[in-house]
Symmetry: C2
Subunit: 268 residues, 2 copies
C-alpha cells in the first residue's frame, strides 16, 4: 500500500443531524451488470441527492450485489437430499432451496421447528444461510440469491468506483436482513464493509462523566445498515442509500471484526 493510501483511522463525529437518502430509479440488476456504474448513475440522477461529501457512507443491500456478481442459483436442476426433502415438508419450504442452503453451509447450527440456521463460509450465523428468493426479479420464480463470495471486496469495488468518479472516499456497507435469537423479526446488518471500522471499541474511552467505559463495543456498521433499511423498506426497488452525518470511525476494516470470536460464543 502506497504511503498516500495509508489507512486513515479517525473518528467521524456525529453531526447534530443525520440524513439517509434512498437512491431512486435503480433498474432491475442482472448478472454481469456493473453495479458500481448503476449506483453512480443513481447518485447523479436521484432528485435531492447532494454532491458527495467527506463523511458520507453508502449502504447497498445484498440482493443487488449478489445479482450483479452472479451469486444466484437456478433451483431447476437442483437435486435435494433426503434430509432437505424432509425438512422442507415439515417447514413448508422448497426442498431445492433447503438443499442450496445446506450446500452453502460451513455448519448447520439448528435445523428443527421450521427454522434452519447455518454458519456461512464467511462465518455469519443466519437463517437459511442468507439464501433468499424475494425480490430476485420478475419471472424468476426458481432463482435464489446466495451471499456474495467476498462482501468486503464487493464493498471495496463500489468504494473505489465512487472515489475514482467523484474524488471522495465514501465508505461502503453491504447490508442484509438477519434475525436475532430472543428478538422477533429481522433487522438489516452489515455483511461487508470498506473504508470504516465495523466495530468501534470504546473500552477505555471516557463517558460523559469522565468515567472510563469498560465494555462498550459499538457495532456501528450494523447500525448504519439498520438505519438505511428505514429509508429502503423491504418490498424492493430501493437497494441503496446514502447516509450523511453518522458517527463512525474510518479505517481499513473488515466484516470479520463483526463476527463473535468463537471463544466468546456461548452457543457454539
Amino acid at each position: 500500500m502506497a504511503p498516500e493510501e495509508a489507512p486513515r483511522v479517525a473518528p467521524v463525529r456525529p453531526g447534530p443531524s443525520l440524513e439517509i437518502m434512498a437512491l431512486l430509479g435503480i433498474p432491475e440488476v442482472r448478472p454481469g451488470d456493473d453495479l458500481a456504474a448503476i449506483l453512480l448513475e443513481a447518485l447523479g440522477s436521484t432528485p435531492g441527492i447532494p454532491p458527495l461529501r467527506d463523511g458520507d457512507v453508502l449502504v447497498v443491500t445484498q440482493k443487488v450485489v449478489s445479482k450483479a456478481e452472479g451469486a444466484i442459483v437456478d433451483l431447476e436442476g437442483i437435486e435435494p437430499r433426503q434430509e432437505a426433502i424432509e425438512f422442507a415438508i415439515s417447514a413448508d419450504r422448497d426442498a431445492r432451496q433447503v438443499e442450496v442452503v445446506l450446500r452453502e453451509a460451513r455448519r448447520v447450527v439448528r435445523m428443527e421447528h421450521r427454522v434452519l440456521i447455518t454458519e456461512t463460509p464467511h462465518g455469519f450465523v443466519c437463517a437459511n444461510g442468507g439464501v433468499d428468493a424475494s425480490n430476485v426479479g420478475p419471472g424468476t420464480g426458481n432463482i435464489v440469491t446466495l451471499l456474495p463470495v467476498d462482501p468486503d471486496a464487493s464493498a471495496g469495488r463500489i468504494r473505489e468506483a465512487v472515489r475514482q468518479h467523484h474524488g471522495v472516499d465514501v465508505p461502503v456497507v453491504i447490508s442484509d436482513s438477519f434475525g436475532r435469537p430472543w428478538r422477533w423479526g429481522i433487522v438489516d446488518v452489515a455483511i461487508g464493509v470498506s473504508g470504516l471500522l465495523p466495530i468501534e471499541n470504546l473500552r477505555g474511552s471516557p463517558d460523559a462523566d469522565g468515567r472510563i467505559m469498560k465494555s462498550t463495543v459499538r457495532a456501528v456498521a450494523d447500525e448504519l445498515a439498520s438505519a438505511a433499511e428505514l429509508a429502503l423498506g423491504k418490498t424492493g426497488g430501493r437497494p441503496a442509500a446514502l447516509i450523511r452525518g453518522a458517527a463512525y470511525t474510518r479505517g481499513e476494516g473488515t466484516i470479520r471484526e463483526a463476527l463473535m470470536p468463537a471463544s466468546w460464543d456461548l452457543f457454539r
Copy 2:
C-alpha cells in the same frame, strides 16, 4: 377508549429521505425530574429542529428514562451473595452490581466466561439484565441504573405530553444497547414503544416483483433505535433524537411483540 382515540393502524410510507436529529442541551436528569417536560424544552430549543409533524418518531435512550423514574440503585449497602462475589472476581466486575443483576433477573441464561446474560422481568434477554453504570452522572460512582419498570408506559407518558403540548401524535421508542449472539458489539434496540407497531409482519405482502413474501417480519422499532444511536453516540449527553421520514406502521403496539415467542426460541 373513546372513538376518537381508536387505534390507528396505518403504514407510514418511507420518504425518499429520512432525517435523524439529536436533541441538544438536555441537562443531567435526576430522579423525580419531569422527563417529558425536559424533552419538550429540548425540542423547542435545539437549533434546527423543525416543528413536529405527523409521521415523526421520538427515540429516547433508557438511561434518562430510568434516572427520571428513579430506577436506580446505590451499590452502597448492597450485600453480594457468594455466587456474585465469585463471578465478579472471575470477570473483573463489582460484585454488588452482579448482585443487583441477579436480584433483577427472572432467569439466568448464561453466567460463565465473564459473560452474565439474564432474562429481565420484561422478558428481555440481555447482558447484565440491562443494569448499567456508564453515564449515570458526575460523582455517582456507586449508582447503577435498572431498566424502567414498564418501558411501554414510559414511552406512552412522553407521547401523551408531546401530543398535549404540540397537538401531534408522535410515536415514542425507548432504546437501550444490547449485544447479540454471533455478532460482536452492541446495537441500540427498542425496549419500549408507544404509538407504533414494533414488529411489522409483511408475510403475505407482495414484494417488488409481486411475489408473496413468506416470512418477512421487520423489527422496525429496533431499527429506529439503532438509527437514532448514530446521531446520539455512546459517550452521553445526547439522550434523545427525533426521526423524520421513516417507514413504520402506526398502532397501539407493545414491546412484548418484539420478544421471541418461547416456542420459537431454540436456545431456551
